[in-house]
Symmetry: C2
Subunit: 331 residues, 2 copies
Protein backbone atom coordinates (compact mmCIF):
# COMPACT_ATOMS: atom_id res chain seq x y z
CA UNK A 1 0.00 0.00 0.00
CA UNK A 2 1.46 3.34 -1.08
CA UNK A 3 1.59 6.28 1.29
CA UNK A 4 -1.75 8.05 1.47
CA UNK A 5 -2.01 11.43 -0.24
CA UNK A 6 -5.15 12.29 1.73
CA UNK A 7 -6.31 11.46 5.23
CA UNK A 8 -9.97 11.34 4.25
CA UNK A 9 -11.80 11.28 0.94
CA UNK A 10 -15.47 12.06 1.46
CA UNK A 11 -18.33 11.57 -0.97
CA UNK A 12 -21.58 13.40 -0.43
CA UNK A 13 -24.26 15.69 -1.75
CA UNK A 14 -22.86 19.07 -2.82
CA UNK A 15 -25.28 21.52 -1.24
CA UNK A 16 -25.50 25.23 -0.47
CA UNK A 17 -27.45 25.84 2.73
CA UNK A 18 -30.03 28.62 2.87
CA UNK A 19 -30.47 29.30 6.59
CA UNK A 20 -33.18 31.40 8.19
CA UNK A 21 -34.56 31.67 11.70
CA UNK A 22 -38.22 30.77 12.29
CA UNK A 23 -40.51 29.97 15.20
CA UNK A 24 -42.07 26.61 16.01
CA UNK A 25 -45.45 27.79 14.72
CA UNK A 26 -43.96 28.21 11.25
CA UNK A 27 -42.75 24.58 11.26
CA UNK A 28 -46.24 23.49 12.27
CA UNK A 29 -47.87 25.55 9.50
CA UNK A 30 -45.44 24.13 6.96
CA UNK A 31 -45.97 20.60 8.33
CA UNK A 32 -42.29 19.72 8.40
CA UNK A 33 -40.77 17.25 10.85
CA UNK A 34 -38.75 19.34 13.28
CA UNK A 35 -35.10 18.26 13.36
CA UNK A 36 -35.38 15.98 10.33
CA UNK A 37 -34.17 16.18 6.73
CA UNK A 38 -37.01 16.17 4.21
CA UNK A 39 -36.45 15.90 0.46
CA UNK A 40 -38.36 18.53 -1.53
CA UNK A 41 -39.01 19.08 -5.23
CA UNK A 42 -38.78 22.29 -7.25
CA UNK A 43 -42.37 23.36 -6.59
CA UNK A 44 -42.08 22.84 -2.83
CA UNK A 45 -38.67 24.55 -2.75
CA UNK A 46 -40.09 27.61 -4.50
CA UNK A 47 -43.12 27.71 -2.21
CA UNK A 48 -41.19 27.24 1.04
CA UNK A 49 -38.46 29.70 0.04
CA UNK A 50 -41.10 32.34 -0.69
CA UNK A 51 -42.52 31.90 2.79
CA UNK A 52 -39.34 31.69 4.85
CA UNK A 53 -37.60 34.77 6.24
CA UNK A 54 -34.49 36.61 5.06
CA UNK A 55 -31.73 34.03 4.83
CA UNK A 56 -28.01 33.63 4.50
CA UNK A 57 -26.28 31.22 2.12
CA UNK A 58 -23.42 29.11 3.46
CA UNK A 59 -21.95 26.06 1.77
CA UNK A 60 -23.08 22.83 3.37
CA UNK A 61 -23.60 19.17 2.55
CA UNK A 62 -22.97 16.68 5.32
CA UNK A 63 -19.77 14.99 4.13
CA UNK A 64 -18.51 18.28 2.68
CA UNK A 65 -18.94 19.86 6.12
CA UNK A 66 -16.94 16.99 7.60
CA UNK A 67 -14.17 17.76 5.08
CA UNK A 68 -14.23 21.41 6.17
CA UNK A 69 -13.84 20.34 9.79
CA UNK A 70 -11.01 17.95 8.91
CA UNK A 71 -9.19 20.65 6.92
CA UNK A 72 -9.63 23.15 9.76
CA UNK A 73 -8.05 20.60 12.12
CA UNK A 74 -5.08 20.11 9.80
CA UNK A 75 -6.03 16.85 8.09
CA UNK A 76 -5.75 16.48 4.33
CA UNK A 77 -9.22 16.06 2.85
CA UNK A 78 -10.69 15.51 -0.60
CA UNK A 79 -14.33 15.68 -1.65
CA UNK A 80 -16.44 14.20 -4.44
CA UNK A 81 -19.89 15.63 -5.15
CA UNK A 82 -21.84 17.10 -8.04
CA UNK A 83 -22.72 20.78 -8.54
CA UNK A 84 -24.30 22.44 -11.58
CA UNK A 85 -22.62 25.12 -13.67
CA UNK A 86 -24.42 28.00 -11.95
CA UNK A 87 -23.80 30.66 -9.30
CA UNK A 88 -24.53 28.40 -6.33
CA UNK A 89 -22.26 25.77 -7.86
CA UNK A 90 -19.51 28.38 -8.02
CA UNK A 91 -20.16 29.27 -4.40
CA UNK A 92 -19.89 25.62 -3.30
CA UNK A 93 -16.73 24.98 -5.34
CA UNK A 94 -15.11 28.18 -4.12
CA UNK A 95 -15.83 27.51 -0.47
CA UNK A 96 -14.60 23.93 -0.46
CA UNK A 97 -11.39 24.75 -2.35
CA UNK A 98 -10.79 27.88 -0.28
CA UNK A 99 -10.92 25.64 2.80
CA UNK A 100 -7.96 23.70 1.36
CA UNK A 101 -9.97 20.66 0.29
CA UNK A 102 -9.19 18.84 -2.96
CA UNK A 103 -12.26 19.05 -5.24
CA UNK A 104 -12.12 18.46 -8.98
CA UNK A 105 -15.54 17.16 -10.08
CA UNK A 106 -16.55 19.24 -13.11
CA UNK A 107 -19.82 21.16 -12.74
CA UNK A 108 -22.76 19.63 -14.60
CA UNK A 109 -24.24 21.62 -17.50
CA UNK A 110 -27.95 22.44 -17.76
CA UNK A 111 -30.81 21.72 -15.37
CA UNK A 112 -31.31 20.93 -12.57
CA UNK A 113 -29.48 23.66 -10.65
CA UNK A 114 -27.07 23.12 -7.77
CA UNK A 115 -28.59 21.51 -4.69
CA UNK A 116 -29.77 23.72 -1.88
CA UNK A 117 -31.06 22.99 1.58
CA UNK A 118 -33.64 25.33 3.08
CA UNK A 119 -32.79 25.20 6.77
CA UNK A 120 -35.23 26.55 9.33
CA UNK A 121 -33.59 27.32 12.67
CA UNK A 122 -35.87 27.59 15.71
CA UNK A 123 -35.05 29.65 18.82
CA UNK A 124 -33.82 26.46 20.59
CA UNK A 125 -31.07 26.18 17.95
CA UNK A 126 -32.61 23.07 16.36
CA UNK A 127 -32.34 22.91 12.57
CA UNK A 128 -34.99 21.48 10.27
CA UNK A 129 -33.74 20.72 6.77
CA UNK A 130 -35.63 20.76 3.47
CA UNK A 131 -33.35 19.54 0.73
CA UNK A 132 -33.71 20.15 -2.99
CA UNK A 133 -31.11 17.72 -4.38
CA UNK A 134 -30.86 19.25 -7.87
CA UNK A 135 -27.60 18.47 -9.65
CA UNK A 136 -26.32 16.51 -6.67
CA UNK A 137 -28.58 13.55 -7.46
CA UNK A 138 -26.80 13.18 -10.80
CA UNK A 139 -23.39 12.32 -9.37
CA UNK A 140 -22.27 9.75 -11.93
CA UNK A 141 -20.37 6.56 -11.26
CA UNK A 142 -17.65 8.01 -13.51
CA UNK A 143 -16.93 10.66 -10.86
CA UNK A 144 -15.90 7.94 -8.40
CA UNK A 145 -12.19 8.00 -9.06
CA UNK A 146 -10.73 4.69 -7.79
CA UNK A 147 -7.22 6.14 -7.77
CA UNK A 148 -8.35 9.05 -5.62
CA UNK A 149 -10.09 6.63 -3.26
CA UNK A 150 -6.96 4.49 -3.04
CA UNK A 151 -4.95 7.60 -2.18
CA UNK A 152 -6.88 8.32 1.05
CA UNK A 153 -6.58 6.51 4.39
CA UNK A 154 -10.33 6.65 4.95
CA UNK A 155 -13.27 6.76 2.56
CA UNK A 156 -16.15 8.59 4.25
CA UNK A 157 -19.70 8.25 2.92
CA UNK A 158 -22.88 9.96 4.02
CA UNK A 159 -26.12 7.96 4.20
CA UNK A 160 -27.88 10.81 2.40
CA UNK A 161 -26.24 9.54 -0.81
CA UNK A 162 -28.61 6.59 -0.74
CA UNK A 163 -31.64 8.78 -1.61
CA UNK A 164 -30.75 9.68 -5.21
CA UNK A 165 -30.43 6.70 -7.59
CA UNK A 166 -27.16 7.46 -9.40
CA UNK A 167 -25.03 8.15 -6.31
CA UNK A 168 -26.49 5.14 -4.46
CA UNK A 169 -25.43 2.90 -7.29
CA UNK A 170 -22.03 4.58 -7.49
CA UNK A 171 -21.33 3.98 -3.79
CA UNK A 172 -20.99 0.23 -4.24
CA UNK A 173 -18.07 0.88 -6.57
CA UNK A 174 -16.58 3.40 -4.17
CA UNK A 175 -16.67 0.96 -1.26
CA UNK A 176 -15.15 -1.78 -3.41
CA UNK A 177 -12.36 0.55 -4.56
CA UNK A 178 -11.52 1.44 -0.96
CA UNK A 179 -11.57 -2.16 0.25
CA UNK A 180 -9.49 -3.35 -2.72
CA UNK A 181 -6.92 -0.70 -1.85
CA UNK A 182 -6.87 -1.75 1.78
CA UNK A 183 -8.40 1.53 2.98
CA UNK A 184 -10.98 1.98 5.73
CA UNK A 185 -14.60 2.78 5.00
CA UNK A 186 -16.43 5.15 7.34
CA UNK A 187 -20.15 5.71 7.10
CA UNK A 188 -22.70 7.98 8.75
CA UNK A 189 -26.37 7.03 8.92
CA UNK A 190 -27.18 10.76 8.42
CA UNK A 191 -30.87 10.83 9.37
CA UNK A 192 -33.28 8.43 11.07
CA UNK A 193 -35.87 8.86 8.32
CA UNK A 194 -33.39 7.39 5.83
CA UNK A 195 -33.78 4.08 7.64
CA UNK A 196 -37.37 3.81 6.43
CA UNK A 197 -36.10 4.04 2.88
CA UNK A 198 -32.69 2.36 3.03
CA UNK A 199 -32.39 0.60 6.38
CA UNK A 200 -32.06 -2.84 4.79
CA UNK A 201 -29.23 -1.61 2.55
CA UNK A 202 -27.41 -0.14 5.54
CA UNK A 203 -27.85 -3.31 7.63
CA UNK A 204 -26.56 -5.42 4.72
CA UNK A 205 -23.46 -3.25 4.42
CA UNK A 206 -22.74 -3.59 8.14
CA UNK A 207 -23.53 -7.32 8.33
CA UNK A 208 -21.41 -7.87 5.21
CA UNK A 209 -18.36 -6.31 6.88
CA UNK A 210 -18.20 -3.41 4.41
CA UNK A 211 -18.09 -0.69 7.08
CA UNK A 212 -15.10 -0.08 9.36
CA UNK A 213 -16.29 3.01 11.22
CA UNK A 214 -19.97 3.73 11.74
CA UNK A 215 -21.35 7.05 13.01
CA UNK A 216 -24.89 6.93 14.41
CA UNK A 217 -26.89 9.18 16.68
CA UNK A 218 -29.26 7.76 19.27
CA UNK A 219 -32.44 7.80 17.14
CA UNK A 220 -30.60 6.31 14.16
CA UNK A 221 -29.08 3.61 16.37
CA UNK A 222 -32.51 2.58 17.67
CA UNK A 223 -34.00 2.66 14.17
CA UNK A 224 -31.20 0.60 12.68
CA UNK A 225 -31.16 -2.09 15.36
CA UNK A 226 -34.74 -2.10 16.59
CA UNK A 227 -33.30 -1.96 20.12
CA UNK A 228 -35.39 -0.60 22.99
CA UNK A 229 -32.55 1.40 24.53
CA UNK A 230 -29.33 3.15 23.57
CA UNK A 231 -27.21 0.66 25.53
CA UNK A 232 -28.97 -2.31 23.96
CA UNK A 233 -28.46 -0.84 20.48
CA UNK A 234 -24.77 -0.27 21.12
CA UNK A 235 -24.40 -3.84 22.42
CA UNK A 236 -26.09 -5.22 19.30
CA UNK A 237 -24.06 -3.21 16.80
CA UNK A 238 -20.58 -3.02 18.30
CA UNK A 239 -19.59 -6.65 17.57
CA UNK A 240 -20.27 -6.09 13.86
CA UNK A 241 -17.99 -3.09 13.48
CA UNK A 242 -14.29 -2.39 13.98
CA UNK A 243 -15.32 1.05 15.29
CA UNK A 244 -18.76 2.21 16.38
CA UNK A 245 -19.29 5.88 17.28
CA UNK A 246 -22.66 6.65 18.85
CA UNK A 247 -23.56 10.26 19.59
CA UNK A 248 -26.28 11.52 21.94
CA UNK A 249 -26.29 15.32 21.43
CA UNK A 250 -26.06 17.04 24.84
CA UNK A 251 -25.59 13.66 26.55
CA UNK A 252 -22.18 13.16 24.93
CA UNK A 253 -20.90 10.26 22.86
CA UNK A 254 -19.60 6.71 23.11
CA UNK A 255 -17.11 4.81 20.96
CA UNK A 256 -16.46 1.07 20.98
CA UNK A 257 -13.58 -0.63 19.23
CA UNK A 258 -11.98 -4.04 19.74
CA UNK A 259 -13.81 -4.58 23.02
CA UNK A 260 -12.73 -1.20 24.38
CA UNK A 261 -15.31 1.45 25.25
CA UNK A 262 -14.73 5.17 25.71
CA UNK A 263 -17.18 7.96 26.35
CA UNK A 264 -17.16 11.75 26.62
CA UNK A 265 -19.66 14.32 27.81
CA UNK A 266 -20.75 17.04 25.41
CA UNK A 267 -18.53 20.13 25.46
CA UNK A 268 -20.12 23.10 27.22
CA UNK A 269 -21.59 25.67 24.83
CA UNK A 270 -22.50 29.21 25.91
CA UNK A 271 -25.52 29.27 23.60
CA UNK A 272 -26.70 26.72 21.05
CA UNK A 273 -27.34 28.97 18.03
CA UNK A 274 -27.77 26.49 15.19
CA UNK A 275 -27.21 22.73 15.40
CA UNK A 276 -26.74 22.40 11.62
CA UNK A 277 -23.58 20.36 11.05
CA UNK A 278 -23.17 19.15 14.64
CA UNK A 279 -22.87 15.50 13.60
CA UNK A 280 -20.73 16.37 10.58
CA UNK A 281 -18.28 18.24 12.76
CA UNK A 282 -18.25 15.51 15.38
CA UNK A 283 -17.28 13.04 12.65
CA UNK A 284 -14.53 15.44 11.50
CA UNK A 285 -13.01 15.63 14.98
CA UNK A 286 -13.22 11.88 15.51
CA UNK A 287 -11.70 11.04 12.12
CA UNK A 288 -8.94 13.60 12.61
CA UNK A 289 -7.97 11.84 15.80
CA UNK A 290 -8.35 8.43 14.18
CA UNK A 291 -6.05 9.09 11.23
CA UNK A 292 -3.49 10.54 13.62
CA UNK A 293 -3.45 7.48 15.88
CA UNK A 294 -5.20 9.09 18.84
CA UNK A 295 -6.91 6.97 21.49
CA UNK A 296 -10.64 6.32 21.31
CA UNK A 297 -11.25 8.81 24.13
CA UNK A 298 -9.09 11.43 22.42
CA UNK A 299 -10.95 10.92 19.13
CA UNK A 300 -14.25 11.46 20.92
CA UNK A 301 -12.99 14.60 22.64
CA UNK A 302 -11.86 16.07 19.31
CA UNK A 303 -15.30 15.29 17.94
CA UNK A 304 -17.00 16.97 20.87
CA UNK A 305 -14.81 20.10 20.55
CA UNK A 306 -15.54 20.41 16.82
CA UNK A 307 -19.28 19.88 17.33
CA UNK A 308 -19.44 22.48 20.10
CA UNK A 309 -17.76 25.05 17.88
CA UNK A 310 -20.15 24.59 14.97
CA UNK A 311 -23.37 24.76 17.01
CA UNK A 312 -22.25 28.08 18.51
CA UNK A 313 -22.91 29.94 15.25
CA UNK A 314 -25.06 29.84 12.12
CA UNK A 315 -23.76 27.52 9.42
CA UNK A 316 -22.36 24.00 9.36
CA UNK A 317 -18.68 24.74 8.81
CA UNK A 318 -16.13 25.88 11.37
CA UNK A 319 -15.52 29.59 11.92
CA UNK A 320 -13.19 29.49 14.92
CA UNK A 321 -9.64 28.10 14.78
CA UNK A 322 -10.37 24.41 15.44
CA UNK A 323 -6.69 23.52 15.43
CA UNK A 324 -6.14 25.98 18.26
CA UNK A 325 -9.18 24.76 20.20
CA UNK A 326 -7.87 21.19 20.05
CA UNK A 327 -4.28 22.24 20.81
CA UNK A 328 -5.43 24.04 23.96
CA UNK A 329 -6.91 20.77 25.21
CA UNK A 330 -4.15 18.41 24.18
CA UNK A 331 -1.20 20.71 24.68
CA UNK B 1 -50.46 65.82 -0.18
CA UNK B 2 -52.04 62.37 0.16
CA UNK B 3 -51.23 60.17 3.11
CA UNK B 4 -47.93 58.36 2.66
CA UNK B 5 -48.09 54.65 1.88
CA UNK B 6 -44.45 54.20 2.86
CA UNK B 7 -42.24 55.85 5.43
CA UNK B 8 -39.11 55.59 3.32
CA UNK B 9 -38.47 54.71 -0.31
CA UNK B 10 -34.79 53.93 -0.84
CA UNK B 11 -32.92 53.66 -4.12
CA UNK B 12 -29.58 51.88 -4.21
CA UNK B 13 -27.38 49.23 -5.72
CA UNK B 14 -28.90 45.74 -5.35
CA UNK B 15 -25.99 43.67 -4.10
CA UNK B 16 -25.36 40.29 -2.51
CA UNK B 17 -22.45 40.44 -0.08
CA UNK B 18 -19.83 37.68 -0.09
CA UNK B 19 -18.18 37.95 3.32
CA UNK B 20 -14.99 36.22 4.42
CA UNK B 21 -12.53 36.79 7.23
CA UNK B 22 -8.93 37.66 6.33
CA UNK B 23 -5.86 39.09 8.02
CA UNK B 24 -4.28 42.48 7.39
CA UNK B 25 -1.45 40.87 5.41
CA UNK B 26 -3.97 39.64 2.84
CA UNK B 27 -5.27 43.18 2.32
CA UNK B 28 -1.70 44.37 1.80
CA UNK B 29 -0.97 41.59 -0.70
CA UNK B 30 -4.16 42.40 -2.59
CA UNK B 31 -3.38 46.14 -2.42
CA UNK B 32 -6.87 47.16 -1.39
CA UNK B 33 -7.62 50.25 0.72
CA UNK B 34 -8.63 48.94 4.13
CA UNK B 35 -12.08 50.15 5.12
CA UNK B 36 -12.92 51.57 1.69
CA UNK B 37 -15.24 50.51 -1.14
CA UNK B 38 -13.37 49.75 -4.37
CA UNK B 39 -15.16 49.07 -7.65
CA UNK B 40 -13.89 45.93 -9.42
CA UNK B 41 -14.45 44.45 -12.86
CA UNK B 42 -15.20 40.82 -13.79
CA UNK B 43 -11.54 39.81 -14.09
CA UNK B 44 -10.62 41.27 -10.71
CA UNK B 45 -13.73 39.79 -9.08
CA UNK B 46 -12.81 36.32 -10.36
CA UNK B 47 -9.19 36.69 -9.24
CA UNK B 48 -9.97 38.07 -5.78
CA UNK B 49 -12.76 35.54 -5.15
CA UNK B 50 -10.40 32.69 -6.01
CA UNK B 51 -7.93 33.94 -3.41
CA UNK B 52 -10.26 34.80 -0.55
CA UNK B 53 -11.32 32.27 2.06
CA UNK B 54 -14.56 30.32 2.48
CA UNK B 55 -17.36 32.87 2.52
CA UNK B 56 -21.01 33.33 3.35
CA UNK B 57 -23.51 35.13 1.13
CA UNK B 58 -25.86 37.64 2.74
CA UNK B 59 -27.94 40.21 0.89
CA UNK B 60 -26.48 43.69 1.15
CA UNK B 61 -26.43 46.99 -0.71
CA UNK B 62 -26.22 50.15 1.38
CA UNK B 63 -29.71 51.60 0.93
CA UNK B 64 -31.25 48.10 0.87
CA UNK B 65 -29.63 47.44 4.25
CA UNK B 66 -31.17 50.67 5.52
CA UNK B 67 -34.57 49.40 4.34
CA UNK B 68 -33.99 46.15 6.25
CA UNK B 69 -33.21 48.15 9.38
CA UNK B 70 -36.29 50.33 8.90
CA UNK B 71 -38.54 47.31 8.40
CA UNK B 72 -37.08 45.60 11.47
CA UNK B 73 -37.91 48.73 13.47
CA UNK B 74 -41.49 48.72 12.22
CA UNK B 75 -41.30 51.41 9.51
CA UNK B 76 -42.82 50.80 6.09
CA UNK B 77 -40.04 50.69 3.51
CA UNK B 78 -39.82 50.28 -0.26
CA UNK B 79 -36.71 49.69 -2.36
CA UNK B 80 -35.72 50.31 -5.98
CA UNK B 81 -32.62 48.60 -7.37
CA UNK B 82 -31.66 46.35 -10.27
CA UNK B 83 -30.83 42.64 -10.09
CA UNK B 84 -30.26 40.19 -12.94
CA UNK B 85 -32.42 37.14 -13.61
CA UNK B 86 -30.02 34.71 -11.89
CA UNK B 87 -29.61 32.86 -8.59
CA UNK B 88 -28.05 35.76 -6.71
CA UNK B 89 -30.81 38.01 -8.02
CA UNK B 90 -33.35 35.58 -6.60
CA UNK B 91 -31.50 35.62 -3.29
CA UNK B 92 -31.55 39.43 -3.16
CA UNK B 93 -35.23 39.66 -4.13
CA UNK B 94 -36.23 36.95 -1.66
CA UNK B 95 -34.38 38.50 1.24
CA UNK B 96 -35.70 42.02 0.74
CA UNK B 97 -39.30 40.88 0.29
CA UNK B 98 -39.07 38.42 3.17
CA UNK B 99 -38.03 41.37 5.35
CA UNK B 100 -41.38 42.97 4.51
CA UNK B 101 -39.97 45.56 2.10
CA UNK B 102 -41.86 46.50 -1.06
CA UNK B 103 -39.70 45.62 -4.09
CA UNK B 104 -41.07 45.21 -7.59
CA UNK B 105 -38.29 46.05 -10.05
CA UNK B 106 -38.22 43.23 -12.61
CA UNK B 107 -34.92 41.31 -12.86
CA UNK B 108 -32.83 42.20 -15.90
CA UNK B 109 -32.30 39.46 -18.51
CA UNK B 110 -28.86 38.45 -19.75
CA UNK B 111 -25.42 39.64 -18.70
CA UNK B 112 -24.05 41.08 -16.52
CA UNK B 113 -25.01 39.01 -13.46
CA UNK B 114 -26.38 40.39 -10.19
CA UNK B 115 -24.00 42.67 -8.31
CA UNK B 116 -21.87 41.20 -5.59
CA UNK B 117 -19.55 42.74 -3.05
CA UNK B 118 -16.51 40.75 -1.94
CA UNK B 119 -16.12 41.86 1.66
CA UNK B 120 -12.93 41.11 3.54
CA UNK B 121 -13.33 41.29 7.31
CA UNK B 122 -10.17 41.72 9.39
CA UNK B 123 -9.85 40.56 13.02
CA UNK B 124 -10.54 44.13 14.22
CA UNK B 125 -14.03 43.84 12.64
CA UNK B 126 -13.25 46.38 9.91
CA UNK B 127 -14.73 45.59 6.51
CA UNK B 128 -13.06 46.26 3.16
CA UNK B 129 -15.42 46.14 0.21
CA UNK B 130 -14.73 45.17 -3.39
CA UNK B 131 -17.83 45.75 -5.46
CA UNK B 132 -18.68 44.20 -8.81
CA UNK B 133 -21.71 46.30 -9.84
CA UNK B 134 -23.00 43.95 -12.53
CA UNK B 135 -26.70 44.38 -13.30
CA UNK B 136 -27.02 47.09 -10.65
CA UNK B 137 -25.29 49.62 -12.87
CA UNK B 138 -28.08 49.21 -15.42
CA UNK B 139 -30.88 50.55 -13.20
CA UNK B 140 -32.89 52.42 -15.83
CA UNK B 141 -34.60 55.78 -15.41
CA UNK B 142 -37.84 53.91 -16.19
CA UNK B 143 -37.53 52.04 -12.87
CA UNK B 144 -37.80 55.34 -10.98
CA UNK B 145 -41.53 55.29 -10.35
CA UNK B 146 -42.64 58.87 -9.56
CA UNK B 147 -45.89 57.62 -8.01
CA UNK B 148 -43.97 55.32 -5.69
CA UNK B 149 -41.66 58.19 -4.74
CA UNK B 150 -44.65 60.44 -4.06
CA UNK B 151 -46.12 57.73 -1.83
CA UNK B 152 -43.21 57.79 0.66
CA UNK B 153 -42.49 60.40 3.33
CA UNK B 154 -38.76 60.25 2.65
CA UNK B 155 -36.76 59.43 -0.48
CA UNK B 156 -33.41 57.98 0.59
CA UNK B 157 -30.51 57.81 -1.86
CA UNK B 158 -27.04 56.30 -1.48
CA UNK B 159 -24.03 58.14 -2.87
CA UNK B 160 -22.83 54.85 -4.37
CA UNK B 161 -25.49 55.32 -7.07
CA UNK B 162 -23.36 58.09 -8.56
CA UNK B 163 -20.69 55.65 -9.78
CA UNK B 164 -22.68 53.87 -12.51
CA UNK B 165 -23.90 56.16 -15.35
CA UNK B 166 -27.54 55.10 -15.71
CA UNK B 167 -28.51 55.30 -12.03
CA UNK B 168 -26.65 58.61 -11.59
CA UNK B 169 -28.70 60.10 -14.41
CA UNK B 170 -31.89 58.58 -13.03
CA UNK B 171 -31.35 60.12 -9.59
CA UNK B 172 -32.02 63.65 -10.85
CA UNK B 173 -35.50 62.54 -11.84
CA UNK B 174 -35.99 60.79 -8.52
CA UNK B 175 -35.07 63.90 -6.55
CA UNK B 176 -37.34 66.07 -8.69
CA UNK B 177 -40.24 63.62 -8.22
CA UNK B 178 -39.81 63.71 -4.45
CA UNK B 179 -39.55 67.50 -4.28
CA UNK B 180 -42.52 67.96 -6.62
CA UNK B 181 -44.54 65.73 -4.30
CA UNK B 182 -43.46 67.69 -1.25
CA UNK B 183 -41.46 64.78 0.16
CA UNK B 184 -38.11 64.94 1.95
CA UNK B 185 -34.89 63.83 0.29
CA UNK B 186 -32.30 62.06 2.43
CA UNK B 187 -28.83 61.31 1.13
CA UNK B 188 -25.77 59.43 2.38
CA UNK B 189 -22.29 60.26 1.11
CA UNK B 190 -21.53 56.48 1.33
CA UNK B 191 -17.72 56.50 0.99
CA UNK B 192 -15.00 59.15 1.15
CA UNK B 193 -13.44 57.91 -2.10
CA UNK B 194 -16.66 58.80 -3.93
CA UNK B 195 -15.86 62.46 -3.26
CA UNK B 196 -12.89 62.27 -5.62
CA UNK B 197 -15.24 61.19 -8.36
CA UNK B 198 -18.49 62.96 -7.52
CA UNK B 199 -17.75 65.55 -4.84
CA UNK B 200 -18.74 68.47 -7.07
CA UNK B 201 -22.09 66.83 -7.85
CA UNK B 202 -22.76 66.24 -4.16
CA UNK B 203 -21.81 69.82 -3.23
CA UNK B 204 -24.07 71.18 -5.99
CA UNK B 205 -27.00 69.13 -4.66
CA UNK B 206 -26.47 70.45 -1.15
CA UNK B 207 -25.84 74.07 -2.19
CA UNK B 208 -28.89 73.87 -4.46
CA UNK B 209 -31.14 72.93 -1.56
CA UNK B 210 -31.97 69.50 -3.00
CA UNK B 211 -31.08 67.55 0.15
CA UNK B 212 -33.13 67.68 3.37
CA UNK B 213 -31.25 65.14 5.46
CA UNK B 214 -27.56 64.41 4.90
CA UNK B 215 -25.69 61.47 6.46
CA UNK B 216 -21.90 61.81 6.53
CA UNK B 217 -19.16 60.14 8.52
CA UNK B 218 -16.14 62.08 9.73
CA UNK B 219 -13.85 61.36 6.79
CA UNK B 220 -16.61 62.11 4.28
CA UNK B 221 -17.46 65.35 6.09
CA UNK B 222 -13.86 66.55 5.89
CA UNK B 223 -13.59 65.50 2.24
CA UNK B 224 -16.80 67.22 1.28
CA UNK B 225 -16.09 70.51 3.05
CA UNK B 226 -12.31 70.69 3.00
CA UNK B 227 -12.52 71.53 6.70
CA UNK B 228 -9.55 70.88 8.99
CA UNK B 229 -11.62 69.44 11.82
CA UNK B 230 -14.90 67.64 12.45
CA UNK B 231 -16.37 70.65 14.29
CA UNK B 232 -15.37 73.02 11.52
CA UNK B 233 -16.91 70.72 8.89
CA UNK B 234 -20.15 70.50 10.84
CA UNK B 235 -20.25 74.29 11.23
CA UNK B 236 -19.75 74.76 7.47
CA UNK B 237 -22.38 72.22 6.39
CA UNK B 238 -25.15 72.58 8.94
CA UNK B 239 -26.50 75.95 7.69
CA UNK B 240 -27.04 74.43 4.23
CA UNK B 241 -29.19 71.53 5.40
CA UNK B 242 -32.49 71.12 7.24
CA UNK B 243 -30.93 68.11 8.98
CA UNK B 244 -27.26 67.13 9.13
CA UNK B 245 -26.29 63.78 10.72
CA UNK B 246 -22.56 63.32 11.23
CA UNK B 247 -21.29 59.98 12.53
CA UNK B 248 -17.91 59.22 14.10
CA UNK B 249 -17.88 55.44 14.61
CA UNK B 250 -16.92 54.66 18.21
CA UNK B 251 -16.96 58.39 19.07
CA UNK B 252 -20.71 58.60 18.58
CA UNK B 253 -22.73 60.92 16.37
CA UNK B 254 -24.05 64.47 16.13
CA UNK B 255 -27.19 65.87 14.49
CA UNK B 256 -27.97 69.52 13.79
CA UNK B 257 -31.35 70.82 12.70
CA UNK B 258 -32.84 74.30 12.83
CA UNK B 259 -30.08 75.60 15.07
CA UNK B 260 -30.49 72.71 17.53
CA UNK B 261 -27.66 70.28 18.15
CA UNK B 262 -27.88 66.82 19.70
CA UNK B 263 -25.23 64.19 20.19
CA UNK B 264 -24.97 60.60 21.40
CA UNK B 265 -22.10 58.31 22.33
CA UNK B 266 -21.74 55.03 20.49
CA UNK B 267 -23.67 52.15 22.04
CA UNK B 268 -21.46 49.67 23.90
CA UNK B 269 -20.73 46.51 21.89
CA UNK B 270 -19.36 43.33 23.48
CA UNK B 271 -17.26 42.55 20.40
CA UNK B 272 -17.10 44.31 17.05
CA UNK B 273 -17.38 41.34 14.67
CA UNK B 274 -18.02 42.99 11.29
CA UNK B 275 -18.65 46.70 10.71
CA UNK B 276 -20.36 46.07 7.34
CA UNK B 277 -23.61 48.02 7.34
CA UNK B 278 -22.88 50.14 10.44
CA UNK B 279 -23.66 53.41 8.64
CA UNK B 280 -26.64 51.89 6.82
CA UNK B 281 -28.16 50.74 10.10
CA UNK B 282 -27.44 54.05 11.78
CA UNK B 283 -29.38 55.77 9.00
CA UNK B 284 -32.23 53.27 9.46
CA UNK B 285 -32.51 54.04 13.16
CA UNK B 286 -32.32 57.79 12.63
CA UNK B 287 -34.89 57.79 9.83
CA UNK B 288 -37.23 55.56 11.84
CA UNK B 289 -37.17 58.14 14.61
CA UNK B 290 -37.51 61.00 12.13
CA UNK B 291 -40.63 59.70 10.38
CA UNK B 292 -42.19 59.01 13.78
CA UNK B 293 -41.62 62.55 15.04
CA UNK B 294 -38.92 61.67 17.57
CA UNK B 295 -36.56 64.36 18.88
CA UNK B 296 -33.11 64.76 17.32
CA UNK B 297 -31.51 63.07 20.33
CA UNK B 298 -33.98 60.18 20.15
CA UNK B 299 -33.33 59.73 16.42
CA UNK B 300 -29.59 59.55 17.11
CA UNK B 301 -30.09 57.02 19.89
CA UNK B 302 -32.17 54.78 17.61
CA UNK B 303 -29.40 55.04 15.02
CA UNK B 304 -26.76 54.10 17.57
CA UNK B 305 -28.79 51.10 18.79
CA UNK B 306 -29.31 49.80 15.25
CA UNK B 307 -25.63 50.29 14.34
CA UNK B 308 -24.45 48.49 17.48
CA UNK B 309 -26.66 45.50 16.67
CA UNK B 310 -25.38 45.10 13.12
CA UNK B 311 -21.66 45.32 13.95
CA UNK B 312 -22.08 42.55 16.54
CA UNK B 313 -22.43 39.89 13.83
CA UNK B 314 -21.44 39.08 10.26
CA UNK B 315 -23.65 40.68 7.62
CA UNK B 316 -25.15 44.13 7.12
CA UNK B 317 -28.77 43.44 8.02
CA UNK B 318 -30.29 43.10 11.50
CA UNK B 319 -30.51 39.69 13.17
CA UNK B 320 -31.73 40.66 16.62
CA UNK B 321 -35.19 42.11 17.30
CA UNK B 322 -34.45 45.82 16.71
CA UNK B 323 -37.97 46.83 17.69
CA UNK B 324 -37.46 45.19 21.08
CA UNK B 325 -34.00 46.74 21.52
CA UNK B 326 -35.45 50.20 20.90
CA UNK B 327 -38.54 49.52 23.04
CA UNK B 328 -36.35 48.54 25.99
CA UNK B 329 -34.69 51.96 25.81
CA UNK B 330 -37.73 54.09 25.16
CA UNK B 331 -40.26 52.11 27.21
Amino acid sequence: MTEARFDVLAIGNAIVDVLAPCDDAFLAEERVDKGAMTLIDTARATELYARMGPAREISGGSAANTCAGLAALGSKAAFIGQVANDQLGEVFAHDIRAAGIHFDVAPREGDPPTARCLILVTPDGQRTMNTFLGASQHLPASAIDANLIASAKVLYLEGYLWDPDDPRAAMKGAIKAARDAGREVAFTLSDAFLLDRHGDDFRALIDGGQIDILFANEVELLGLTGAASFDEGVAMLAPKLPVLVATRSEKGAVAISGGQTASVPAEPVAKVVDTTGAGDSFAAGFLHGHVNGASLAECLTMGAIAAAEVISHYGARPEADLKELVAVRFG
